[in-house]
Symmetry: D3
Subunit: 237 residues, 6 copies
Amino acid sequence: MRPSKRAPEELRKVTLERGVARYAEGSCLVTFGETRVLCTASLEERGPSWLRGSGKGWITAEYAMLPRATHERNRREVNAGKPSGRTQEIQRLIGRSLRAVVNLPAIGERQIVIDCDVLQADGGTRTASITGAWVALHECFTWMRSRSIISVDPMRDHVAAVSCGIHKGTPILDLDYAEDSAAETDANFVITGSGGIVEVQGTAEVTPFSEEEFLGLLRLAKSGVAQLVALQKQAVG
Amino acid sequence: MRPSKRAPEELRKVTLERGVARYAEGSCLVTFGETRVLCTASLEERGPSWLRGSGKGWITAEYAMLPRATHERNRREVNAGKPSGRTQEIQRLIGRSLRAVVNLPAIGERQIVIDCDVLQADGGTRTASITGAWVALHECFTWMRSRSIISVDPMRDHVAAVSCGIHKGTPILDLDYAEDSAAETDANFVITGSGGIVEVQGTAEVTPFSEEEFLGLLRLAKSGVAQLVALQKQAVG
Amino acid sequence: MRPSKRAPEELRKVTLERGVARYAEGSCLVTFGETRVLCTASLEERGPSWLRGSGKGWITAEYAMLPRATHERNRREVNAGKPSGRTQEIQRLIGRSLRAVVNLPAIGERQIVIDCDVLQADGGTRTASITGAWVALHECFTWMRSRSIISVDPMRDHVAAVSCGIHKGTPILDLDYAEDSAAETDANFVITGSGGIVEVQGTAEVTPFSEEEFLGLLRLAKSGVAQLVALQKQAVG
Amino acid sequence: MRPSKRAPEELRKVTLERGVARYAEGSCLVTFGETRVLCTASLEERGPSWLRGSGKGWITAEYAMLPRATHERNRREVNAGKPSGRTQEIQRLIGRSLRAVVNLPAIGERQIVIDCDVLQADGGTRTASITGAWVALHECFTWMRSRSIISVDPMRDHVAAVSCGIHKGTPILDLDYAEDSAAETDANFVITGSGGIVEVQGTAEVTPFSEEEFLGLLRLAKSGVAQLVALQKQAVG
Amino acid sequence: MRPSKRAPEELRKVTLERGVARYAEGSCLVTFGETRVLCTASLEERGPSWLRGSGKGWITAEYAMLPRATHERNRREVNAGKPSGRTQEIQRLIGRSLRAVVNLPAIGERQIVIDCDVLQADGGTRTASITGAWVALHECFTWMRSRSIISVDPMRDHVAAVSCGIHKGTPILDLDYAEDSAAETDANFVITGSGGIVEVQGTAEVTPFSEEEFLGLLRLAKSGVAQLVALQKQAVG
Amino acid sequence: MRPSKRAPEELRKVTLERGVARYAEGSCLVTFGETRVLCTASLEERGPSWLRGSGKGWITAEYAMLPRATHERNRREVNAGKPSGRTQEIQRLIGRSLRAVVNLPAIGERQIVIDCDVLQADGGTRTASITGAWVALHECFTWMRSRSIISVDPMRDHVAAVSCGIHKGTPILDLDYAEDSAAETDANFVITGSGGIVEVQGTAEVTPFSEEEFLGLLRLAKSGVAQLVALQKQAVG
């Protein structure tokens, strides 16, 4: 029995609420159980200087946690003077994941900045961020089309993410914080609506894992992402 | 007529919601119209080293805005490597305001960190922060008493804050962003439940103001704070 | 009896010496008793980029203390990598105070940088800085007019500043360091030559203060500033 | 045909030279073709403060590139004031990979710092670093045992790493820089001597990949790591 | 003829005024012509941690320029986040020069911090700093002996410094800013009261110099330092 | 007898190996005994902005040590956020030394960046860096001429550097780390192929030195540099 009492292949309750930030071009409040992330998409007409003349747009992401999103208060990264290695890893992952399903030339030479701010953290903040950011980005594209800034929808597919792990020998889906701490292996999967793999990151916390175990995790992830994509469809429908 | 159509002495709709952060010892989501601030209070058994042996506790505050809390996206301060001067001014003000109504020795040699994170900004974020932080701090003291960490309530009085300004020659209360941009004079008042003044900050944006004008603002502020204190009483009642 | 033996409404000996920095366009060494601040005004033909096309000029200020201006040596802020919150508050205050009495379009699209460096600190360094900076700025405008860089005097009024406090229940003017440490309430007033209030900052160190107490401080400040303005007139006459 | 003319499953020429740093407790110069990394292992009797009382040791890693290791000169990270996100990702990966095959309590409450400095970069610097760092760490443990600092060998297994990618639809092993730039998918595998997977990181640069493609890469990686482990055995034999 | 019209071996007017900083244990305002440096000596009972148990004291120095000490205003180093390379070179030089004439064990395990703040700069600020700092340090030792903190005078000799250069082929002493800009070679000499050389730094700005030229500079420096030492004796006499 | 058993005027074994970095326009691995420095020269078509319109080129240098180049591991400077004062002193010295023998207008408005990375440190790293950097720069100029980027050789002379010191009263040449730690006086000389002095830096570690002692060091340095220049000729011949 996993700590959360859920079945191995059972997601937490997931909600995706659009339009939660009054000023942003797109936004989504995503929850995976007690994990809550506010995602916004901001259109910037002036992107980085290297975009000029490239004929395409760019999507970048930033990620942060409120200091008391967690059980113990964390120091604000601004007071350390720089984002931590973990933060940088996550924001690079979010950016890559979204770019993989976007037709960048269709955006024009503009930049869209995704902000994922974790209001409450109970495990899986990076995968929740990707899943919610897709909705915010979709809303931003709709906003742009309604103002004729772009004529074609740049979104080529859905993308969503979920974590999996091996807990007492059993592969389980969508780990909360307690499960993550107890798992032998931790993997994050970013998968598109059509089932293509965009990112795989697997780490053995204690003992190395086998190919079979890894495939077990991948199968769980695919079924989890399929459910998340269905929720994204509802959210933007 | 003021831009918001409110009467000169009319507050925006203000809400104070307690218990919104699962892990914090105290929390409050405060809204003043479209301005929304999440305030948490975190108890730290180990305060700064200079507390040791002092026989008293300390309350400090940190303040930040989500990048897309505003009309235009702001750069995260972590990427500039340090909090701005404005941020530092505000967090010092929040800390001083709360300490003015707390019996610090009654906390023991502990520190309570107040975090005020602005989710959406439509003017008056610092005054909303102080008003909401008082509720979070109150909840934290209740939590401490319920666990017998302290025996006496360290809270000596309410404290709340509100902005006032002169708009086209008329003193008005609780300015939103549009009003703040148009006002000739901008003042923030931090006042206790018993009507004592804790902080006064008045700035002439364009033309200096007179003693009479300043007194007009102070009177508006006192009436506004009285209403805010009543809402605080409801919130913690 | 106040610690300095002065009468409650008595300023320290104040001197304002012009022309003390050989290379600056304007300069003033200001002393308030043992507090000594060197103020310079530097004309920069190229201001910040946002000035271009605005049709007006800008005045900004920087403030610092020599490490051994004080009883105990302070760490240089450069070694902390950034100015402290207190330093930033003070330099923002000096800049706002001067801009309030200057006709910015009359400067043209130029920037004047005021540097206030505290050589010795015995309380009231920010108010001494503002009072002396006005003289340095005046000298800078005279220099500019003598070279026909500008044709109209941009200075619209005097501005000076003074601190007040409540010590053992009595309002007192122009606190030195010992008095400041002992005062219950501390307030800084920035007031123009014609008596308009530019900035008011009042803080209750221990117990909140009443409207009447605050008005008592404001009256002291007005009389103090009137004396400071008379000294400024002598200094630039 | 792949750009390097190698067969799809063919490694570059790999060398592992021990004892190359006179002062370090362990060292290895590793080359994968034109990629050259100097790895050292430094024993520190005083580890981070959280080690004290934990009853175990720690292995951490740092990674950097000489500015002209690459085709175009890179700015030194010290001049940016902080390591880049990429650098932090890599050094976290190296540390985790080594810790996965070490019996940490057998080290005692000491820290071993692995430094991987890239002298020349032609793709695969992170995987070469892990492969070489294992040899440096092995030499460090031998040094410690020869001085009776530890009595049991803390090394539980080999660990090595290799990159794989899909180039024009074909899975290929050990990509050089030109191949990495041209590949559709890029994956890094960290695998133990006994074939367990420690880390998997796969990224679709352009189009998502399928489960079958991913398994193809994993098989290549396993065969590559087996060869690398054989070379490690020779190097420390 | 040199730009300043002085004879080649002629110092500028040099003054050394003691006791200029009310709170410091030692201080000296040194002028070399238009160059003005405020030097203070601050006794710190707690030196750096590596002093503990060493049985000796330490002398360290910090150096800075006011932003408008120069013809053009310089940016404050605090805004760059770190002292420049030039600043660090100078403060290391001042510290080494003073330590060379001090009996460090006679200070006890204390640190004395020398601050040299350039109020006005017309060339030779580092050599003026050393010359004035010796006087401030002497005053500090006198202060310590008068309070019986130390019983023996730790000062073993005088030390002073002067710059020399080759201008149109002629060696000249004590260059002002205009001369320094025009000189082919620039050298700084730190020499004791008994004529021993503590530091020599010579740099060919344009063309390398010969041994003979260098010896010419050294002779000028010795005569200049002898005069400076005589002035130091008067100052502390 | 000196610690290294060498004769007082005897250099360590010195080697200069060209062409060691595949991608750099010029490179040299220089060894002085156990001291090993990798020097590269990188041509940058775009130099700093102040070069534009100046009609000349620039040569700048950067210097760093691998963390475990030394007996004890050093912290990476990137983790301190800035290069140390020592590092900055050395990189400024390397740049000045090379510029003194280069005809800067002959380079055109380009910048050449010299990187000196110390792989192993046993004293004399800055002098080894200068000596090796000259070879890397020479190779870079040859590369530029072979591609007709420049038509005239900008190199006007050789330049090399060596350290000298006084050990137990005897002047000795080319100190290793143990000798440097034991020497009373330490001096670095940068001298051209034709015997002109470019830089002299002498420091009395303990007791001041006399003119005669200094001349003794200078003579040793001249003979040492003559040998180093002969080795440079072989290396580039």
